[in-house]
Every structure is written in C-alpha cells, then in structure tokens.
C-alpha cells in the first residue's frame, strides 16, 4: 500500500468543502435543530465556517496544524452556542496533535482525530448514545483506527449511517434532552453537521493523488 500524506492545501480544501456543505444545507440544519432544539445550529455553523474560510484565505499557512489552529480559534470565537466550544475544542486538540508537521501521515492524522474526539467528550461531558455529535465522531474515529488508514469510503459510510442512527435515539444531552421521549424520531443537528465534516474530509481524501 502506497503511503499517503495530508498536506496544508488538503486541510484547507477540507474546511472549504465543509463550509460549502454547511452553507447549502443551512436551512436543513435549522429545521433539524428547530424540531428538537432552538433552531440556530445552521446559522451558528454557517457563520463560523464562513469566518474560518475568510481567515484561511487571508493568511498563509506553513502546515496543517496551523491551518486547523486558526480554524479552532475562529470556531471558538464565532460559532457560539453549544457547537462553538465543542467544534472549537476538538479542532484545537487536533491542531495541537498535528504539531508543525508539513505532511501528515495517516496514523498521525487518525490519532489527532482521536484526540479531538476526546476533547469533545471532555468539553461536553456526553457519551456515546446520547444523541449528540459524539455519535458520529466516536464511531468514525474508531472505524479509521480499525482500518489503520484514512479510508475515505469507510469514513463516509460510517459518518452517514451513524448520523442517521441518531434519529431513533432519545436525547440525554443538549437542548433536545429537555424533550425527553419527544426527541425520538429526529436526526440530531450536531450529528448532521459532523457528518458533513467527515463527508468533506472523505471527499478531500478521495481526491488525494488524483
């Protein structure tokens, strides 16, 4: 198997793709959050990702870690709500783990995602099955660890099926928890945006070496 790396341009693609997907699915995200939350997730994410793309376009970056650090800081200061600190903390940890490597081997990238996922759990104090973005992050990272490579097909498939699986869960964390059983029957908004995040990464990885 050919060894592949993730470089600065690719992580920028990733974030740009993420921003585009969020932007075109903004009103769907709003609907999801309105059904069992307060309806701002689409706007929060659209605002945050748009700002992140602006920052990435305005500066030059020498390594993926620095790109994602800028993304993290932007998420923290521009998203707000629950998702701001969550995505922000995850990306901050990812960038710290990547350090100043210019090209990132799959193994390092996977362990960075794992660190991000841990930061997310620490910040939100949620565990798997509570109908949050964790329900996408944890299984996706686990799948990649198992595959021991950034397998974009598995990433996409796991993210999608786990996102969809949140529909039948009863929320125990976040605003949807206030609805108790009435939260069942709706996909979690943060799980959906996390699906878009991994879908964007998968699409970026699929283009590697094309």
């Amino acid at each position: 198997m050919e060894v592949k790396n993730v470089n600065t341009i690719e992580v920028k693609w990733w974030i740009k793709k993420f921003q585009e997907k969020i932007s075109s699915e903004k009103s769907y995200l709003t609907d999801l959050d309105q059904a069992i939350g307060d309806g701002d997730h689409g706007h929060n994410m659209a605002r945050g990702t748009a700002e992140a793309v602006k920052v990435l376009e305005a500066k030059t970056f020498t390594c993926p870690g620095n790109v994602l650090k800028a993304v993290a800081m932007t998420f923290i200061s521009k998203i707000g709500g629950a998702s701001g600190p969550l995505y922000g903390s995850a990306f901050l940890k990812i960038s710290q783990t990547l350090g100043i490597e210019e090209t990132i081997k799959d193994a390092l990238f996977i362990s960075a995602l794992r660190e991000g996922e841990k930061a997310l759990r620490q910040r939100g104090k949620a565990v798997l099955g509570e109908k949050t973005m964790i329900d996408v992050w944890s299984p996706v990272v686990a799948e990649l660890e198992k595959a021991n490579s950034l397998n974009h097909e598995k990433m996409r498939a796991t993210a999608e099926s786990c996102m969809k699986a949140t529909e039948i869960l009863e929320a125990k964390k976040g605003r949807a928890a206030y609805l108790g059983k009435r939260s069942v029957g709706h996909i979690d908004a943060g799980a959906y945006s996390s699906y878009l995040l991994f879908l964007s990464l998968a699409e970026t990885l699929a283009k590697r070496g094309e």
């Binding site: 701002d40 707000g80 125990k172």
Partner: protein
C-alpha cells in the same frame, strides 16, 4: 416573519447600539464586543458580576446592568450563547480587584462558553467563580442529563447577588448567596404561541388554535407537554403544583413571586394569572413578601408566562428589597 429590523445579521448589534443610545448615562458598550457594562465599571473594591447569554430575552441581560445588579451583560446571537472571547472581555472590564462572579443559565452552550472564558481570565490572575442557575422544574432533574434549564428565576439571582456585591461582600460570600438563591428558586413556564428567530424566519414550533405547550423554555423550543388550552385558574394550578412539588413549601413560609411574561402576553393576562395564583398561595397560607409582575426574561415575541417562587430567609429578603437602579429593574 414580521419584525422591526433592518438586516437579520445586524439585529443584535443595532439593539446594543440602541440601548446605549437610549441610556448613555448608565450603559457603555465595550468597543468591538457585544458586552454592555455599567458606565462606571470597574467598581473598585466590589465583586464584579457578569451574566449574559443568547439575545432575545430582553430586558435580560443588558437591562439589568447597573447599581445593585449586574456589572456587565454579554450578548450572543439570538438564542445562541456568546463566545468565550466576549465573556472574557466582560470579565476583564468589571474586575475591580475583588474577583468576578459569572451567573450562568444552565444550558450546555452557556456553561461551556462561560467556562472557557473563566479559564482564560484565570490565566490572567483574575479570580473567577461561576454559579449555574437551573430553576426550571419543567425538566426532570437528573445526573444523567444536562439537568434543568435556567429561566426567569435567574433575575432573582442577579438581584440578590448584585445587592450583596454592592454591599462590599467578598467573592466567596457573593457566590454563596447566589447558590442559596439557586437552591431555593424554582420556575415553570408555558406558552400559547411560538416565536421566530430573525435569522431563521420561521416559528420554532407549531401550535393549533386550541393547543398550548406546558414547560416551554425561553428559546422558542417546544415544551415538555402539549395540551388543550387551559383557563387561567387551571394554568395557575398546573404551574404552582409543579413548582411546589419541588419546593415543598410549608405554611407561613416567606416567599417572593415572579410572574414573568414571555414577550407577547399582555400585562392584563399576567395580572389575571397572578390573581389566580395568589388564591393558591393564600390557601397554602404562604407569606408573600414581594411580588414582581412583568416581562423580565422573554423569548422574543412568544406568548406565554412563567411563574417563579423563591423561598426566602432574612438575608435573601433584605437583599431582594435592597435598592437597585438599572434600566429595566429599579427598587
């Protein structure tokens, strides 16, 4: 969506500018932020008190900035917690040497963003304490979930903690009285109509002409139960019972009452509800020491109401009655 605004993206900014333009003798906006502080902040030798949250709850929180209540209010986007950098600016601006208390409503977003700001301020050597208001008995309290929401009872935490801080107490004392209020204040709300976040343009839920939601929060989210419309008397009973189940009030106990409109409910209806509530309080032989009726913690143009009961002791009673002079709340 019909609203008085220019650009949905600018609504929080124009609101904050409007508040400062209306009350320049009392409020000032920290440049480049969404933070309103007392004109004279920081007050030396006084514990600084910071609260805030998403916008759309006006007069909370900017309306409570002033003597005897808050030193700063941090505004997020509509119904979205403010970000840590904004809260951090507020903390720095009100720190008068005695530390800063953050009064946080219990929402995952608020808790995390304020927490991150506190971490930032502590790196600067500012002593920060946080209290988390969770007065909403609509939601089951459980250690497996994020617990109960903070709603209108928060205003009484602002009032009482603010009063003690104004008297020169220490950060620990102010934190402790705030926690005492939190332990003794319970609220329960309901709504007759939903509300529309400007940026989304559509109402947060749908209700038929004969339906109401019981246990609604203050973010346009659905409540915990949907029922057919109730009379004011039935409503008072439902809300009071739920609050009292938790407080378990005894005859002759002293309480303060807050009847809070969610935005579009006429004051007439709030007083009608209070009339029906008072009958229940009297039946229980409670001593109502203070009654506050109006709109304090709103949910945009939602129609609905919450009731809040605070169990008092001598300290809380004195602090509640103490002078306050803010834009929206004066004593």
């Amino acid at each position: 969506m019909k609203k008085i605004l220019n650009d949905v993206e600018a609504v929080v900014d124009e609101m904050l500018e409007g508040m400062v333009a209306a009350h320049p003798d009392r409020l000032r906006r920290l440049k480049g932020t969404t933070v309103l502080v007392r004109k004279e902040a920081p007050v030396n030798g006084k514990v600084g008190i910071v609260s805030g949250g998403g916008s759309g709850h006006e007069p909370a929180h900017g309306g409570f900035v002033g003597e005897g209540m808050l030193d700063a209010a941090v505004a997020g986007e509509v119904f979205t917690s403010p970000t840590p950098d904004q809260i951090y600016e507020a903390i720095k601006a009100v720190h008068g040497g005695k530390g800063v208390l953050l009064i946080i409503k219990n929402y995952t977003g608020d808790v995390m963003n304020f927490e991150m700001a506190a971490e930032m301020a502590e790196i600067d050597g500012i002593k920060v304490r946080q209290v988390i208001v969770n007065d909403d008995v609509a939601v089951e309290d459980s250690s497996f979930t994020s617990g109960r929401r903070g709603i209108a009872g928060t205003v009484l935490v602002h009032k009482i903690a603010g009063a003690l801080a104004a008297n020169g107490a220490s950060l620990e004392q102010v934190e402790s009285v705030a926690n005492k209020v939190i332990q003794n204040v319970k609220s329960m709300g309901m709504s007759l109509t939903p509300c529309t976040v400007p940026a989304s343009g559509k109402p947060g839920f749908q209700l038929a002409e004969n339906e109401i939601e019981i246990g609604t929060g203050i973010h346009g989210e659905p409540g915990v139960e949907r029922t057919k419309i109730l009379t004011a008397k039935e409503l008072a009973e439902v809300l009071f019972q739920k609050v009292n189940n938790d407080l378990n009030l005894q005859e002759r106990e002293e309480v303060a009452i807050l009847v809070n409109g969610l935005g579009a409910t006429p004051l007439m209806e709030l007083y009608v509800l209070h009339y029906n509530l008072k009958a229940l309080l009297d039946k229980k032989k409670l001593q109502v020491v203070d009654t506050i009726v109006g709109e304090w913690m709103t949910s945009l143009e939602m129609s609905g109401v919450s009731i809040t009961i605070l169990r008092l002791d001598d300290q809380l009673k004195t602090l509640l009655k103490q002078e306050a002079d803010t834009v929206a709340f004066k004593r």
